[in-house]
């Protein structure tokens, strides 16, 4: 299936943007202004936890590449939504409607025929109507969920810290320290999507005993 690579789904949506000559601020600009106010660290997509990566872009028109090509223009502007996520399309769209309805409505509310998120079925049908089938999709890691990847990144950092802190310890002491480390790692809260993982402070908060020694 061209939209999928392993367990990852590649969604491509083009939603026509409303064209209202009487609008005080054009709809494409209103979308851009709203999106411009979202910070990457607090992206609404962090709440749709199966999202690996996603983007929104306004496509104002197609590009004229010069002679001898013909110059032509689109009659609509389009909101482009590109997302890479785990699971099925229906589940993902339902999560968007349930977890981030205000943001979805604020953005897609400027698009033609948008039904809102109150009816999940109507929202799913609308998004599918705007979906373009991916022709070729590549995912470098296509057999791990977002949560598995975040956990693995957390583990990678924690293992490095553990090794550094326990160099040269006697065998029995090392064995006990490793057992405590495993317990702390398993009990640690899961990383927050989109927040970055590099802070040892975060590790320290949930993983007593494996903070880096100064």
């Amino acid at each position: 299936m061209p939209n999928q690579s392993g367990s990852v789904y590649g969604l491509t949506i083009l939603s026509p943007i409303l064209d209202d000559p009487h609008a005080k601020v054009s709809h494409d600009l209103q979308i851009r202004m709203y999106l411009g106010g979202l910070k990457d660290e607090r992206s609404p997509f962090a709440k749709v936890s199966s999202t690996h990566m996603a983007r929104l872009a306004v496509l104002n028109d197609v590009v004229y590449v010069g002679m001898p090509a013909c110059e032509e223009h689109l009659r609509s502007q389009y909101l482009v939504f590109e997302s890479n996520f785990d699971g099925s399309l229906d589940e993902y769209l339902e999560k968007m409607a349930v977890e981030i309805p205000e943001d979805v409505d604020a953005v897609w509310g400027h698009c033609v025929g948008y039904p809102g998120t109150k009816s999940i079925g109507a929202f799913q049908a609308y998004m599918k109507k705007c979906q373009i089938t991916t022709t070729f999709y590549f995912a470098d890691v296509n057999d791990k969920t977002v949560n598995q990847t975040l956990r693995a990144l957390q583990t990678q950092e924690a293992v490095g810290v553990f090794i550094e802190n326990n160099q040269g310890k006697p065998a029995e002491e090392l064995r006990q320290a490793f057992a405590a480390f495993l317990e702390a790692l398993r009990a640690a809260p899961g990383p927050i999507p989109g927040s970055g993982l590099n802070s040892l402070g975060r590790l320290a908060a949930g993983m007593e005993g494996i903070t880096r020694h100064e």
């Binding site: 990852v8 409303l18 999106l35 990457d40 983007r55 025929g113 590549f138 990144l153």
Partner: protein
């Protein structure tokens, strides 16, 4: 800049194609999708998290009725979206140096495509047909593709070592621990902000 989120760059490109050429390109993508060895270069480059090409037929732009007018265009369009690590220049340079033949097979059907080599006109072309991202999200923005792959290897090695070392005596554990270190050392490290300037 919204095209960039920490270590990942979002590229969007749209190019026009004569409709009869899109069938040839579809055949190439079909082969690329079904012959895994053809994807080796993409995998070996190892700085692309996700990428896709999408062909939109001239009569297949979404039409929702109401106040929307139907598109009346002559070209089909090829969209390209990529999520990669590094700068725009590094990405295009690497594509041009390593994947020139592969890229030419894909983009040669687009109008005015100059070829992936030499790199200067290729960059000018991509710069011309690129459009900007308005919001970009990554669940793991500090991690490169290699970080992700390395982290999964460390996780697998740790899980295996935890199972295998349960019940071992101290000396046996210490020897197994050294073997574990040798196995994971190449994949250790911390993720973090990209260097200034990237």
């Amino acid at each position: 800049m919204t095209n960039i989120n920490k270590k990942t760059y979002a590229m969007n490109v749209i190019t026009p194609m004569k409709p009869w050429k899109t069938w040839l390109l579809r055949a190439i993508f079909f082969a690329l999708g079904h012959i895994k060895s053809l994807q080796a270069y993409l995998i070996n480059l190892s700085f692309i998290h996700f990428a896709r090409w999408v062909i939109i037929r001239r009569d297949a732009f979404p039409y929702l009725g109401g106040s929307q007018e139907r598109e009346q265009i002559k070209y089909d369009y090829l969209l390209f979206f990529s999520n990669f690590n590094g700068t725009w220049d590094q990405y295009i340079d690497a594509f041009s140096a390593v994947l020139a033949n592969g890229l030419n097979k894909i983009w040669r059907w687009s109008e005015k495509y100059p070829g992936a080599l030499p790199v200067t006109p290729f960059k000018q072309y991509i710069g011309r047909v690129q459009f900007e991202t308005d919001h970009y999200y990554s669940a793991y923005p500090h991690a490169t593709t290699n970080d992700v792959k390395g982290a999964h290897r460390v996780q697998a090695a740790l899980d295996a070592f935890a199972n295998e070392s349960a019940g071992m005596g101290p000396d046996e554990f210490a020897r197994a621990y050294v073997r574990f270190l040798v196995k994971v050392q190449i994949d250790l490290g911390t993720t973090g902000a990209a260097p200034v300037g990237t």
